[in-house]
Structures are given as structure tokens and as C-alpha cells.
């Protein structure tokens, strides 16, 4: 076997994609590559590319399934910009990505070449035509006989090509083969040793093939890790957060993209005495969790947009009865069924203002994978301290992305205390609201002297149904006051970048990494841009207005709809702002601008950079001055 003359390029970072038809294992390949790079000490962020259907037709543009891995020499906080290198198992799945503008001009494509000589003339022709067009468009297309090489090792190359591709990629990115072998053993460890051996064989074959036939290699320098790291996606982090918070009951109904959190929890929860209850519908799941919480065990219900809509009445009941409850909404594209597998930040207003009447609840949004874990622990504590509903807004991007973070060290303070069964003191009422904070002791069945009927009707301190105007206003007053009491404990979020300047960007949720990357890039270019990222959306932390006032302009970057000011019909009388922008304008009376997109993909740092550069340009009015 000849060894090709290699050009070795050292890179700061690279974005790699592996694409296949659904079921060909590209996702597994990508996740494993990410894990190997992370173990090497590279920063990584992986993003799943998921078709909306379970078995889309083979070789279809919409059927692309796979993984996108951004590998960096330092910490990586988001999926990055366009892709630098792609491995594709057929040319059709690649086309969708090309059309979506996801590939960098001139990007390297490692393309399965079995289709060129395919028995079906139409397929062969489609391949040849696409190949020619890709070359013409300037992509560096390398045709790889993956199928052929795998056939020498396995009877069904369709189930093994992914490990061959992994071997090629390990070679291309100079990753240690031994680490890859170990990772495969971890991944397939549940199955038998023969499966592991087979996959290792394919891995090694891919590695050898690349070594012998490809004339280039990359090195992305890594800093070996000094402390234990975990690599998980946001949904797994949420499930582990549920475990760590000491909650014992999760009631759910299947819904994309939230379900994988419940899948994982179903697998592990019982080992620590927890239960995942798959209810008959979303409403039942919420009501079940409320019943469990009322009975003394703070419960969680995990859902996504449509399910969140269905739960609204029950959430209002928890607010009215002051029952602690954690509701996780892994946001997807909306409205209605929308885009189940795609990312959007469209539920902020529904989370804050959902349910009829005045229904104050806490809304938090994790912004990293690590945050998904800790947010649940915090949410449980707030729920039980304030007897409130806490909504945790994750999204499809966090749900399926992986990023290493420091292994959590268990703390007993995370865990819910045992159910309080101490007697209620004589004369104490179930809603003895504290005049200053609105807080009252939580009455739990089993407590002697605490008997009362909790009701969703307006009620007085004794939980008696009351239609008295004063009583109604008093109860609404105290339920609202609890938000203020919580707000007093929140810290003003830190400013990323300088304390003052030309432009302040405010964001929330999964966009943090991309926003801060764009801000850092612009600051390195001498621009006076900073950002603030909000973890609490309801209540908002104090001090935001003072921060904003130190900047000439303030804008939000969000993944929900806002009107395009360029549209002829849009003016300041009818312009619909993005959700956070609208909230901040109301809260601070600062003229907060916004930019948003709803493409279903995570917002790219490069896109944000362009938006911010545009925002930094003096406006026509200012220029005239």
C-alpha cells in the first residue's frame, strides 16, 4: 500500500458534516467523532441534522440525516458558520445542504462514488450530473469508494460505512486511533464484543484508506483536559438535572423534540426511585404532575410547543392553587405543528403570559448544555420555595447539540427535602400570605390540622371560595408579589465585552454562544459592541436599564418572528418586535431594536456579525446631523 504525499494544515477550527439517508448511521458517526475530538481536548459542538420523517425515501433531498461537528482548538460555544468538509453517502442528501447555503464555498466533499456505476441508469445519471455541477460550483469533490472498501469486510456495507467514514475522518483530523477504538467500545459496549470488533475493523480500514489515498491532513491543536468533562446533549442534561434535583415524578406525553429527555429518564429514573409516567395526553401529564406536587413531591412535565399550549389551563390551576411545578418546554418551530425537529424561540410570550387571567409564573431559559442541567435544579428549588410554576424554555438546538462541560459535583443542597408531614399550628391558614412577599407555608396532605380544599376558584386565606372583591384582589396581589420577591434575589447579568459602547446586544436561550462569538470577533476588529444574555425572563433581573443606558444602541437577537422594517407596509405604528425586545421596551422604556430569523436552524455567528455591523452603521437620520 502506497502512502500518499501529505499536505498537513494546522487549523484553529473546522466544521465537519456527515450526511446519509436515514438509518445509515451518519449521526452515530458524527457523535462519535465529536466525542473523540472532545477526549483529545478539542472544543466541540455537535448539531444533529434530522429529517422530519422516520423513513424518508432513500436518496432524497429532504431526507438528509446526519451530524455537524464544529471542532476547535479552544472551547466551542455554538455550531458555527458554514461547513468546511462533508462526508456524504449519496449526492442527493448533499444537495439539500448545498441549497440551504450550509456549505462554505470551495468546501471539501468526500462523496460515496458507488452511484456512478449504479445499475439504474437514472441514478447513475443523477449522480454524474450532480457531481459535475458541484465541481463546476467550485467545491472540491473527492469521490470515495466507501461501499466497495466496506464490502471487503462486511456483508451489508450500508450498516458499517459510518465507521469507515469515522476512520477516514480520524485520519484526516489526525485524531488518535486508539481513542476512537475506546470510544467505539463505549458506544457499542452494551452489545457484544463481536459488534465492537467489527466496528473497530471498519474504523481501521477507513483510517488506512485515507492514509493511503488522500494527500491532505489537518491538525487542530488541542489542549488536553485537566478536569473530568461530560459530553451530553441538552435533553440528556435536562434528564440528569431532573435526577439531580431530587424530583421523583416526571409525567409526559410523547412530543418532538422533547421526548428524548423522557426516553433517557425512563431508562435511568427508576434506579434512584423515580418514575416517568407516560400519560394519555398532554393535559393529563400536566394534571398528573400537579397532583403529585400537591401531594408533596414536586414533579416535572416535559413537553414542546403544541403540548405546552394544551397544558395552559392546568398550569393556571397550579398558579391559582400555588402548587410547585416544573414545566420544561423544548421549543420547536410554530405555530401549530410547525417544524417539529427545527429550532425556534417562539414560545417566550406564551411561557410568560400563557393561561388566562393573571397567572404569574417563573420563566427561565438555559443557554448552554451545562445550563440545561443546572436550570432544572434551580427550577425545582424556586418552585418549592415560592410555591410557583417554573417554566424552563429549552429548544431543539440545545436538545440535540452536544458540548463538553465540567463534570457536575453532586451537592445535597440540590435535592428536594422529604415531604413535610409536621402538624399545622393552630390557627394557621393554607394561604396565610406574608404581607411583604406573598409567601405562605405549603400545606400538604397528611399534615394534621391542615385539612382544606384547594380550589381553582377565587379563594381567601382559608381556601374558601370567595367572590368578595377585596379577597379576589388580595389573592391576585399576593400571587404576583412572589415574582417580585424572587426578582429581589436575582443578580444583574454580567456584560460580555466592554461596560459601555456603541451597541449592546441582548439575547436569551440557545443563541448565547453565537452572539458572544460575533461580539468577540467585532471587538477584536475594534468595534465597541457588548452583549448581555438573560437566564431569567420572568421576572427579569434588575439593573438592565442602567446597563442599556451606557450604550448608544440596544438590540436583541432572537429566533422568533419580528417584522422586517424594510417591508413597505411596516412602520413604527404596526411593527411587531421580537418577544424579548417587546418585553425590554416595556420594562425599561429604552428604544430597544431587534433582529430575528425563523429559518429553523441555529443562528450563525457569521450572520450575527453581519447584522451587528449593519446596526453599527450610523442611521440616515444620524448621518444627516
Amino acid at each position: 500500500m502506497q502512502t500518499a504525499q501529505k499536505t498537513v494544515t494546522t487549523l484553529k477550527e473546522h466544521v465537519v458534516e456527515i450526511l446519509s439517508d436515514s438509518g445509515e448511521g451518519a449521526q452515530r458517526c458524527g457523535q462519535t467523532l465529536g466525542a473523540i475530538a472532545a477526549r483529545t481536548g478539542n472544543g466541540i459542538w455537535t448539531v444533529e441534522i434530522i429529517p422530519a420523517e422516520i423513513r424518508p425515501p432513500a436518496r432524497s433531498i429532504a431526507g438528509a440525516s446526519g451530524n455537524r461537528i464544529r471542532i476547535g482548538s479552544t472551547r466551542v460555544s455554538n455550531g458555527g458558520d458554514e461547513t468546511d468538509l462533508v462526508v456524504a453517502f449519496n449526492e442527493q442528501v448533499l444537495l439539500g445542504r448545498v441549497r440551504a447555503g450550509e456549505l462554505k464555498p470551495g468546501c471539501t466533499i468526500l462523496l460515496e462514488n458507488m452511484w456512478r456505476s449504479h445499475g439504474d441508469a437514472a441514478i447513475a445519471a443523477a449522480y454524474a450530473e450532480t457531481h459535475a455541477r458541484l465541481v463546476e460550483a467550485g467545491y472540491r469533490v473527492l469521490e470515495i469508494p466507501m461501499e466497495q472498501a466496506c464490502r471487503a469486510l462486511v456483508s451489508d456495507p450500508r450498516r458499517g460505512k459510518n465507521m469507515f467514514a469515522l476512520g477516514m475522518l480520524c485520519n484526516l483530523y489526525s485524531l488518535e486511533l486508539q481513542l476512537a477504538r475506546e470510544q467505539i467500545a463505549l458506544t457499542f459496549g452494551k452489545k457484544d464484543a463481536a459488534v465492537v470488533a467489527q466496528n473497530v475493523k471498519l474504523l481501521e480500514a477507513g483510517h488506512e484508506w485515507a492514509e493511503a489515498n488522500l494527500d491532505f491532513k489537518y491538525v487542530i491543536p488541542a489542549k488536553p483536559v485537566t478536569a473530568p468533562q461530560v459530553v451530553i446533549n441538552g435533553n440528556t442534561a435536562i434528564a440528569l438535572g431532573v435526577l439531580a434535583s431530587g424530583m421523583e415524578i416526571c409525567a409526559m406525553y410523547p412530543i418532538t423534540p422533547a421526548t428524548s429527555a423522557s426516553h433517557y429518564l425512563s431508562d435511568v429514573f427508576e434506579k434512584v426511585g423515580g418514575i416517568v409516567h407516560q400519560a394519555e395526553d398532554e393535559i393529563a401529564a400536566c394534571a398528573f404532575a400537579i397532583g403529585a406536587s400537591y401531594a408533596g413531591k414536586c414533579a416535572v412535565t416535559i413537553t414542546s410547543g403544541p403540548g405546552y399550549s394544551l397544558k395552559q389551563e392546568a398550569i393556571g390551576l397550579a398558579v391559582m392553587g400555588e402548587i410547585p411545578l416544573v414545566v420544561v418546554n423544548v421549543q420547536r418551530g410554530g405555530p401549530s405543528t410547525g417544524q417539529p425537529t427545527k429550532v425556534e424561540q417562539g414560545d417566550l410570550m406564551a411561557a410568560i403570559f400563557g393561561s388566562h387571567g393573571d397567572a404569574p409564573k417563573v420563566v427561565m431559559a438555559p443557554s448552554t448544555i451545562e445550563d440545561c442541567f443546572y436550570s432544572i435544579i434551580t427550577a425545582r428549588r424556586i418552585a418549592e420555595t415560592f410555591n410557583m410554576v417554573v417554566v424552563v424554555l429549552s429548544d431543539a438546538s440545545l436538545a440535540t447539540s452536544q458540548q463538553p462541560f465540567a463534570r457536575p459535583e453532586f451537592s445535597e443542597s440540590w435535592v428536594a427535602p422529604p415531604v413535610d408531614q409536621s402538624a399545622i399550628p393552630e390557627g394557621m391558614k393554607p394561604y396565610d400570605w406574608n404581607e411583604a412577599t406573598g409567601l405562605a407555608r405549603r400545606f400538604i396532605p397528611g399534615q394534621p390540622n391542615g385539612m382544606h380544599t384547594l380550589t381553582g376558584l377565587a379563594h381567601d386565606r382559608a381556601s374558601h371560595v370567595a367572590y368578595d372583591p377585596e379577597v379576589n384582589e388580595e389573592s391576585i396581589h399576593f400571587r404576583s408579589l412572589k415574582l417580585a420577591a424572587l426578582q429581589k434575589t436575582l443578580k444583574t447579568p454580567p456584560v460580555f465585552g466592554g461596560d459601555s459602547g456603541d451597541l449592546l446586544v441582548v439575547g436569551w436561550g440557545s443563541t448565547q454562544g453565537a452572539i458572544e462569538e460575533a461580539v468577540a470577533t467585532l471587538r477584536a476588529e475594534g468595534r465597541k459592541v457588548s452583549s448581555v444574555h438573560l437566564r431569567f425572563l420572568q421576572p427579569l433581573p434588575g439593573g438592565l436599564k442602567r446597563i442599556m443606558q451606557r450604550f448608544r444602541r440596544v438590540m436583541t437577537i432572537e429566533g422568533n418572528w419580528s417584522d422586517r422594517p424594510d417591508d413597505a407596509i411596516i412602520d413604527e405604528d404596526n411593527r411587531r418586535y421580537s418577544a424579548l425586545a417587546l418585553l425590554l421596551r416595556a420594562r425599561t422604556l429604552v428604544d430597544v431594536d431587534c433582529w430575528s430569523e425563523v429559518r429553523g436552524e441555529p443562528i450563525k455567528p457569521g450572520t450575527i456579525r453581519r447584522v451587528l455591523l449593519d446596526a453599527l452603521k450610523p442611521k440616515a437620520k444620524e448621518r444627516a446631523r
Partner: protein, 320 residues
């Protein structure tokens, strides 16, 4: 020893409850409302069984029936329309030490909450459910309900309802895992109490449909049965409920029915001419969901920590 015995005795005294210990407030139901009879039977049950008020929870939905918990001096949960059952299931799963009752109406259970009803039967969690079936929406002022007889004139069906009535007993008996189904009428307090008691003692989902009069909106709908005791079919069986001699004199139509016979129970339930009163079906062998899902061993922080660390280990890579 003497000390301990005295303490035990004192505790016993403390735990003995009178009827008043379970009563709370003055029911705001209409005069003549069948709900009053149900309340009396249930309060008597609590006293006779010595249920600890702080360990007893009544869960309800919305409607006249669902005001029930307010009139009990126990823990109560008066929630939202149709969702009493899932709330009660959550209570039950979280706290197997509590005794759980559910009060629901024909609109609450058979219409807006019908999905939960079907699945609650399937879960078979240990709770006693009273379906207060008056065949009409009362609190919202007279609209036809799913159990309204065809032709019922109401505010939403001014020319008479057009659909056949849903039969709650037939529906319940048709669902997998059904374990206890009984029927009572509010105007025979003796059998009402006996049925409520049998339901309480059944381990599993005990479903009692109580034919309940609404004097306000459908005052005459049950008159044919009320005035003609022959149209009441008393179910009598050593394995079920035994009809007293006194009742036998009034309700001469009796049927020996073995409540373990599901097919026969379904036949009896489908009789719309007569009202069967008694236990239609009982199967103590159906497993309860909360027992199927129970996790072994005591939950401790140490166990939780161990479990979490084991999971984190799966995803951790350590410094080389």
C-alpha cells in the same frame, strides 16, 4: 407497660371520629339534589371506617358534583373541568399512604374528561370514583350532557337532544383492566351506602355510577323509576352485595348476579329499561398501576448520589 397501654388508648380515642369531624360548611346544592345523599353516605363511610381526615383526599373536577370536597373536612382538591382523574392519579402515585376519592359528574367524566376516564380504568389505580350522573349540565344551567336521554330539552337542545345517551356502565365495562363497577341510586340510601363501602374496600379503580336527581333542571326524568320500584333491578349475590330483607320487600325485582362474571355484567349494564343497583363487576386480581410501577427499596440521598454518579460516569472523559 401501663404507660404504653394508656398512650395507645389515648391515641385510639383521638383517632375515633364522629360524623361532624368529616363535615365542613353547609352544602350549597339545591334542595332535593341527589348530591346531598351521596355526601351523607360518604361521610358515614369515613366515620365507620375511621378514616384519618388528614390522610384522606377528595379530588374533583368542575360542576355541581365537584363541589363535594368543599363539604368534607379532609384534604380536598377542586381542580379544573374534566381533569380530576389525572390529578388523583398523581396524588396516588406520589403518596400511596393517602386514601383517594374522586367526585366527578357526567359532563366532567363522560364528556370533557372522557379520555382520562378510559385511561384511568386501564391504569387501575387504587381509588374510589363516584360518577354523580344527573344527565344534565347543572352549574352552567341546563345543557344536554352525553348521558342525557335522547329527546332531552335543554338550553342547547331546545327541540330535544338528537343523540342516544352514552351508557357509563357499558363504557367502563368495555375497557381493559376494569376491576370494579357498581351502580347506586341516590334515593335508596341503604344500598347507596353499602355500594360506596364495597367500592372503598376494593383494591383498585372502583367506579360507582350514582344515578342522581337534579331537581332544578331535570326534575321528572327519573320519575318512572322512582314511582315504579319494579323498574329497579336489585343485584344480589353472596360475592357481591346482599340485599336486605327490608329492601327486598320494596324492590321485588331481584337478580342473583355473580360480580365475577364480566359478560353477564355487560348484559345487565346494557338494560336501559331497568336500573340495576348493586355490584356489576369486581375483579380483585387486576394489578394496580402504582404497584406495577413501584420502585424497590428506600429512596435516599445516598442512593440518588450513587445513581447520578453512575450515569455521569457513562458520559465522562477523564484527564489522560
Amino acid at each position: 407497660m401501663t404507660m404504653m397501654a394508656t398512650e395507645c388508648l389515648l391515641e385510639l380515642c383521638e383517632q375515633r371520629h364522629e360524623l361532624e369531624d368529616y363535615q365542613s360548611g353547609v352544602p350549597r346544592w339545591c334542595t332535593g339534589c341527589g348530591d346531598n345523599a351521596i355526601l351523607a353516605a360518604v361521610q358515614r363511610l369515613c366515620r365507620d371506617e375511621g378514616l384519618r381526615p388528614e390522610k384522606t383526599v377528595f379530588v374533583s373536577g368542575i360542576g355541581c358534583s365537584s363541589r363535594f370536597p368543599h363539604y368534607m373536612r379532609t384534604y380536598g382538591f377542586h381542580g379544573i373541568h374534566g381533569r380530576a382523574l389525572p390529578v388523583a392519579e398523581g396524588v396516588r402515585l406520589a403518596r400511596p399512604d393517602l386514601t383517594v376519592f374522586v367526585n366527578t359528574g357526567d359532563g366532567d367524566c363522560c364528556s370533557i374528561g372522557a379520555a382520562h376516564w378510559i385511561h384511568a380504568i386501564r391504569y387501575n389505580m387504587n381509588m374510589t370514583v363516584f360518577l354523580h350522573d344527573n344527565q344534565i349540565y347543572g352549574l352552567t344551567k341546563m345543557q344536554a350532557s352525553p348521558t342525557s336521554p335522547r329527546g332531552t330539552k335543554s338550553n342547547t337542545t331546545p327541540r330535544g337532544s338528537t343523540l342516544e345517551a352514552l351508557q357509563p356502565l357499558s363504557v367502563t365495562l368495555g375497557v381493559q383492566n376494569v376491576s370494579f363497577v357498581a351502580q347506586a341510586v341516590d334515593w335508596i340510601p341503604e344500598s347507596l351506602f353499602e355500594i360506596v363501602k364495597a367500592a372503598y374496600h376494593h383494591q383498585g379503580f372502583s367506579f360507582v355510577r350514582i344515578v342522581q336527581r337534579c331537581p332544578e333542571w331535570l326534575p321528572k326524568v327519573w320519575d318512572p323509576w322512582l314511582h315504579d320500584p319494579k323498574r329497579i333491578l336489585m343485584l344480589d349475590h353472596p360475592q357481591g352485595m346482599q340485599v336486605s330483607d327490608g329492601l327486598k320487600q320494596v324492590y321485588k325485582n331481584q337478580l342473583a348476579h355473580d360480580p365475577s362474571n364480566l359478560d353477564r355484567a355487560r348484559e345487565i349494564a346494557s338494560d336501559t329499561d331497568r336500573i340495576p343497583v348493586g355490584i356489576l363487576y369486581r375483579n380483585p386480581e387486576v394489578p394496580c398501576y402504582e404497584e406495577l410501577r413501584a420502585t424497590p427499596g428506600l429512596r435516599t440521598t445516598a442512593k440518588l448520589k450513587q445513581g447520578l454518579e453512575a450515569e455521569l460516569d457513562k458520559f465522562t472523559f477523564w484527564p489522560q
